[in-house]
């Protein structure tokens, strides 16, 4: 079976397992509605904190509230989508620890697809909705000359951002084969990453901005495209065309994450009981 065949097989497996979890969730509709709302509210309070900040100041490091909301919306939606699609992978450490990963290894389906779809939680739509609402509000308030490239760059940035965060989740899961108990380190990059991106790059020290631009390329989720759309100078002296490269960065990240996943899976030795 070629690479294309394996990919199709993986997607088919993923959709089957995810669909099963959705049906099981829908058996308790009230609980689903409440947890989705809870998911929405949990991230909403993040944004309330930002609004409270702006009740005391007009600008944060030179950015206005709609501009910060634009950053927040792009990052929140991209991260929310990644969390919906693949967020269950952060629980891989538990399966490694208790050895239940063995069950997935003996099934005739790609392990990555099984782990990603495991306990698929539709309630995470709450986070996506919240991010999208903030993004919509920001776009309605921004004073930007919308041109076709600017309008098109927005969905491209959200989807590429989702790809970049998916790569972070997969790399984090691969790391859990080694780390086991230290699974929480991953949160620093996933939840920490999206929190970082909610604020303007000019807030942070240059070394940190360099790190998230060149080493862990989170800046391509929203900082670079948003800086170009809003006409804001980026703290590092970079060419404008980089704002259009998030799709390439996302593909590159996913390829590297795939390699990390293979290396991690190969090092798995079960619990040995």
């Amino acid at each position: 079976m070629g690479e294309g065949g394996r990919l199709r097989e993986g997607v088919r497996t993923y959709l089957m397992i995810a669909g099963m979890w959705v049906r099981s969730t829908m058996a308790y509709r009230a609980s689903f509605a409440m947890t989705t709302f809870g998911n929405f509210a949990a991230t909403f309070f993040d944004f309330v904190a930002i609004m409270l900040m702006f009740s005391r100041v007009d600008m944060l490091a030179g950015w206005t509230l709609p501009e910060v909301a634009f950053l927040y919306g792009l990052s929140g939606t991209a991260f929310g989508l990644a969390d919906l699609v693949i967020g269950s992978m952060e629980r891989l450490g538990r399966r490694v620890r208790d050895g239940t990963l063995d069950t997935l290894l003996v099934r005739p389906a790609p392990v990555l697809a099984q782990v990603a779809a495991d306990q698929f939680a539709l309630r995470r739509l709450g986070r996506v909705t919240q991010g999208a609402l903030v993004l919509g509000w920001a776009v309605s308030r921004l004073d930007v000359d919308w041109t076709l490239p600017k309008l098109l760059l927005m969905p491209v940035a959200v989807l590429s951002g989702c790809g970049i965060f998916c790569a972070v989740f997969v790399t984090g899961a691969a790391f859990q084969f080694l780390a086991q108990d230290a699974a929480e380190v991953q949160n620093a990059f996933t939840y920490g990453g999206t929190t970082l991106l909610q604020y303007p790059p000019s807030v942070f020290a240059k070394e940190l901005v360099r790190g998230v631009t060149f080493v862990l390329p989170l800046a391509f989720v929203n900082w670079l495209p948003a800086s170009w759309i809003l006409g804001r100078p980026y703290p590092l002296d970079l060419p404008d065309w980089l704002a259009f490269t998030p799709p390439l960065v996302a593909v590159g990240c996913c390829a590297l994450a795939g390699l990390a996943w293979r290396a991690g899976l190969r090092s798995y030795r079960s619990t040995g009981s």
Partner: protein, 266 residues
């Protein structure tokens, strides 16, 4: 064995239990430090726009950030203390075993939670705080008395924190499933304790309201003592009043629960 020694043994057990997972502790320290770095940058930008916002200067708010990261797991502000385990025991019916032990249910779990809190204060809290103090210009009181007063406030904060979470855990006697309550308490904990934004920055009436709620006894109250921004005795009175009220309510609810509710599991 005297009653006092029993609860000390439970607390020591709680301490040692959490001390077992060293890799998890190191991971938590790392994550807290990263979040601390992000928050310090955003708050410094905020204080650059409005110096002396909320009556603090930049060095004071930097101390506040690292204190928050140190307290997050110590006081289980977003949950993650012993209440999750107690809820599960109520749901499965194992709580029946706890009830016929010759020990008081509330004191038993309080001792376990204090043991957990002390470990997380030393194991998870101290390192990010020292890191922050070494890498950033922080405000630290020169007077040893202030440090001592601060530690007393931390102890009171632990009592208030447990008081809130014990009430939540007992709700499982009626609700059985604690997911919703846990989620709400996580939200309230983050927002009302000042983890998302210091409470003295909240505008107007909202600020007044959140400062009167018990969550402000967790992070804001000890922080204000360490930052020389509050009178210790007034703060103790506020924290102590909430501790008595919450623990008393917990006791009432406990007796109602054990009298009226049929324990699960046959």
């Amino acid at each position: 064995m005297g009653a006092g020694r029993l609860y000390v043994a439970v607390a020591v057990g709680g301490f040692r239990r959490y001390a077992t997972y060293r890799a998890a502790t190191a991971a938590g320290v790392f994550t807290n430090t990263v979040f601390g770095l992000i928050l310090v940058s955003t708050y410094r930008a905020l204080w650059d726009e409005r110096p002396h916002l909320g009556g603090w200067d930049q060095s004071q708010v930097v101390t506040y950030v690292w204190l928050g990261q140190a307290f997050l797991s110590t006081l289980a502000i977003g949950g993650g203390g012993v209440e999750g385990e107690l809820m599960e025991r109520i749901r499965t019916g194992d709580v029946a075993i706890d009830l016929y032990r010759p020990a008081d249910l509330q004191l038993w779990w309080l001792a376990a939670d204090l043991g957990r809190g002390f470990f997380q204060f030393l194991g998870r809290g101290l390192v990010p705080f020292v890191f922050g103090a070494l890498c950033f210009p922080v405000y630290l009181p020169a007077d040893a008395g202030t440090w001592l007063a601060f530690l007393v406030a931390v102890l009171l904060a632990m009592l208030v924190g447990f008081g809130i979470r014990y009430l939540l855990a007992l709700s499982a006697f009626w609700l059985l499933d604690g997911t919703g309550v846990t989620q709400i308490s996580w939200l309230a904990g983050y927002f009302c304790s000042g983890m998302l934004l210091p409470l003295n920055v909240f505008p107007g009436a909202l600020g007044e309201v959140v400062r009167a709620l018990p969550w402000s006894a967790l992070l804001q109250a000890p922080a204000e003592i360490l930052l020389d921004d509050a009178d210790p005795f007034g703060t103790y009175l506020f924290q102590g009043a909430w501790a008595v009220l919450l623990l008393g309510a917990g006791r009432l609810l406990q007796s109602a629960a054990t009298r009226r509710v049929v324990v699960q599991g046959g």
